[in-house]
Symmetry: C3
């Protein structure tokens, strides 16, 4: 049954793959509409071009219908229809016959990856351009070319998706992913589809402790706009946050800690990685990227950790057409989902439990303990050890550390001790 979720997530990624997304425009809207189909309570809203957000403002909205390069003989050398990476994101419209040399100055390719189309965007500097495989570029000859981009840059809006799931507590957990990349798999459909599956799981979680703030927003400008409208409440309420990015490939897990590295988000992620993915890699905060740059900036300073497989920028296929649907795998999406779910499940029970009786309880009354003092070793059960540390000051992650037992063993013991009325939750 759980393996089903991996396949589901992969299916969503396959459906969303062809859409031409950017930081604004109809591609984002289509993507969020698809997600709202999976998460009916998703709130989709628009922020108009020109809206101020700290040092930034929402740019013009970009949409594109078609684009190509045609040679003198009318052969379509490059066609947006075939791959939306072919056009530099936020390209201005153009319809012009130009010489090869001028064309060439608007082409982007990667000599080291002769078959790959690079992904290029130019959101804030007006230009136009095409991205092609270097192999193809080398075959272009001198002569005239018809370059055609049917795009527009107009007053419009930036589109965001937000799902708030209320819990017993107003304290929040943040789950964030971004939905502004065109046809690429790991970076970035892996983050959104894992985020959707987690949201579905959390929606049905009975007696949810935390309130969850689950975001599907454009990278950078989307995060900045969102923070400019929600900073105070997020600073007051957020206990831990996870940025999900590049989380569908086959590499080991990795994470980027918060600035100082001591938040609850750091503690839970390291604990779960240690237990379930011990070959994980820790990157320095100095190598942070994506929206952790905003969530963890000095003044925003939210406890948000990046959870990844391959870190963005560290794999060859990154930001090229090679980061496609073959590069991500259903079973890897499943593993990533499982791991983040473990983090969330641990947070849900990571309370500061307090023993009911000052001394040890009389275990044998409850059928919990051998009554004859025959065991010379007196090996102790997890629940005995846990009870000895349940002082109301230590949370479950602390106790797991002190008693050298896995969090899953600790969680089992908490259940037993709660059932036997030997510990109580705070308040």
């Amino acid at each position: 049954m759980t393996e089903e979720i991996g396949k589901q997530m992969y299916g969503w990624a396959a459906d969303l793959f062809p859409i031409c997304r950017s930081i604004t425009g109809n591609g984002v809207r289509q993507t969020l509409t698809y997600i709202k189909n999976l998460l009916p309570n998703l709130k989709i809203y628009e922020v108009p071009s020109g809206t101020k957000a700290f040092d930034w403002e929402v740019p013009l909205e970009w949409n594109i219908r078609s684009a190509f390069i045609e040679d003198e003989n009318g052969n379509k050398m490059v066609d947006f229809k075939n791959n939306n990476l072919h056009v530099v994101s936020y390209s201005e419209p153009i319809d012009k016959i130009i010489e090869f040399d001028e064309l060439n100055s608007h082409l982007h390719s990667i000599p080291e990856l002769p078959h790959a189309i690079p992904y290029i965007a130019s959101y804030y500097k007006r230009t136009w351009g095409f991205c092609i495989a270097d192999q193809q570029r080398k075959q272009l000859k001198q002569g005239k070319y018809h370059v055609f981009i049917d795009s527009d840059l107009k007053e419009g809006s930036l589109t965001c998706g937000e799902l708030i799931l209320k819990g017993r507590e107003s304290k929040e957990i943040l789950l964030s992913s971004y939905i502004c990349h065109p046809s690429m798999g790991n970076n970035e459909l892996s983050g959104p589809v894992v985020n959707v599956a987690l949201a579905q799981f959390l929606s049905t979680l009975p007696n949810r402790r935390y309130t969850y703030r689950i975001l599907f927003i454009p990278e950078t400008i989307g995060a900045i706009v969102y923070l400019s409208q929600n900073l105070q409440v997020m600073k007051e309420r957020t206990e831990a946050g996870f940025l999900l990015t590049c989380i569908g490939d086959s590499n080991n897990f990795s994470h980027i800690p918060t600035r100082l590295g001591h938040t609850l988000a750091d503690r839970v992620v390291v604990k779960i990685l240690e237990e379930y993915a011990p070959n994980y890699q820790t990157y320095s905060f100095l190598l942070r990227g994506s929206d952790q740059r905003q969530f963890c900036s000095a003044i925003v300073d939210l406890p948000v950790v990046s959870i990844m497989r391959s870190k963005p920028g560290t794999y060859l296929e990154y930001h090229t057409s090679l980061d496609n649907l073959e590069f991500i795998k259903a079973e890897e999406l499943q593993k990533s989902y499982d791991l983040v779910k473990k983090c969330v499940e641990l947070l849900e029970v990571n309370l500061k439990y307090k023993a009911v009786f000052p001394c040890e309880p009389k275990y044998d009354k409850r059928g919990l303990y051998p009554h004859v003092s025959e065991d010379k070793k007196a090996r102790k059960t997890t629940y005995e050890q846990l009870l000895a540390f349940a002082d109301g000051n230590l949370d479950l992650i602390d106790i797991s550390h002190y008693i050298k037992k896995s969090t899953s063993e600790c969680i089992e013991s908490v259940k037993l001790l709660l059932k036997e009325n030997l510990i109580r939750s705070p308040q």
Copy 2:
């Protein structure tokens, strides 16, 4: 003269050895009466059966007069008169002729130690049983046996011994040992006899700083009952506590720290062990036993450390007839006494001293310092170093650490500096 104390302690252990102790009953009373002879101010008091203590209650009182197993020919195979370990502690009375197979199901022996009689108790599950050497058990044949135990389990009481020695301060040091084990030497007559000798030493200590709470109580239920009646005052006042157990054998010293390991009790024990018994062993708190389980439970949370030679359960002779008067030694009891005495003596002077003069004093006025600046090395005396750290915030253990001098050197310097009015005690 100090060696005398080791011999005295051994003599007390030899006197107390034959008594059949359990968690309640006349054996405990006889033992405490003997101790009161040595410590006239000892308060002995009774807690009636049925008294509630947190999750527990005081059990029925158990007393035994005689017990044996007789074969068909009237031969006494096993007789309580020979060794009180032969009867499972808290055995119900019985007087019956039974077949060998039924008898066998009530026998306890240790195949790995064919000559040893095991020590078994069954306080909270009604049963009866005999403990014998495995060698003897193998010689028992099929046939009928007369099993006879003249014991009773009646409303009665639990007996505790408590000695409070008032000091200048109301802050307390706890010294605890248990007096509920039948004829065994290390576990547990070593703890009580060292505790008695320390109590005698402390009784005569002039101008005692701390108040001492010195306990001789039955293990587990005694500690729980005692805590249930004294928890608040003990939590308010206890600065350090020592549980003395298995402290008469020839093994190196060992200790079990408190839960988090940072209390004054931990600091003083580690400091004294480092200086006087550097081959000591540190066990994890996760391996705690005896009454540290109660004193250090999450809510009681007293700063109590176990001081031991062999840790209970780690030596072959533990809980058998081999843990006898040969297994403990006068000179080892002496060493244990000396070490705990060092801990107490350090605590007595472990104040936060404060220098009288802001700068260095003029040592030469006091004949304390060479006045000609000839010494190129300027090696500093312990009292100079100590004075430079006597800021009123650091105690003597801290200072000893910072200035890299032994506590005995520091204590000498404190005496000198107090005499010269160069430091003062707090208040």
Copy 3:
């Protein structure tokens, strides 16, 4: 131009070298008058003999005019005119014909350094004496000698030099050196001349942040007297202090931390040594000497670190005539000046800066950032990293540590970010 300062400092040392200084007297006055010529705002003041200072009092003032030892033939064997080290500092006057044996009991020499005249003082025990090369001592024969010391010990005063340079803040930095040693170079003209050069630099520093308290005082008694009159204000205001001693020889840098080693003075010195003099040596506070003994005593407890090349007492030439003008070098004085200046310059900008915008600023608006997302590595600039840590809680030394950039790179970034209004200083 900066190399000029080394030569200047050396020139001052050469001018001051011949003066016979002690803890009181005209030598100190002449020295301070010379320094006041270089630092016109220096305040020179006198503290009368007999003035109480904690456990001490200001001694009689000592002055000497001439001294010699003459043999029976009228040959001057030793003459104060040739080297003022020849007379034990604070020698009583004498004019007497004595036998060789009596003379010999008043002679000081160093067998291991046959050519060196030792430096000896006897401030608090009345005596007289001569210091000579051991080689010369061996040549003295039996016979009568005329010993003559024209000195006096009278009610007078102790002379101190203090320069206060007011800054924007009332918080202070202390720079201290001592001016009580006769003709020796490293110990101690190096400290005062570096201190003078730093004072000149600080006098002209525009918009000075800190207030600087710059002292030229006699060692020990001068520090104690000064502290007795300024302790409260110094404890309230001093954020960091540096004792400059033995800072003109060719050895690597060394320092002695404060008592517990965690003050701002410790942090800044270690940081600058790590960056500019990584072969430095750290001595234990237990080996402290000179006025750090007073500044860092338990109750005074100022954040004062010693900065040295060779630690006093660790070099052969120490406290002898071999510690002369050849033993110190202009270029080494320069290096020492440069290093302490770096410490001071870092302190001046070591603020807790705070980012202006909650999220990252839009760098490209300011021409600060590549706008096309082409750089796969996304290597970050120092100013980006610094901005991410500018939370108003961390000072620049902390941030330099976290972002793994040198303080000079950090200071450059601070300038840029201030200019672009992307960070602000506290208040």
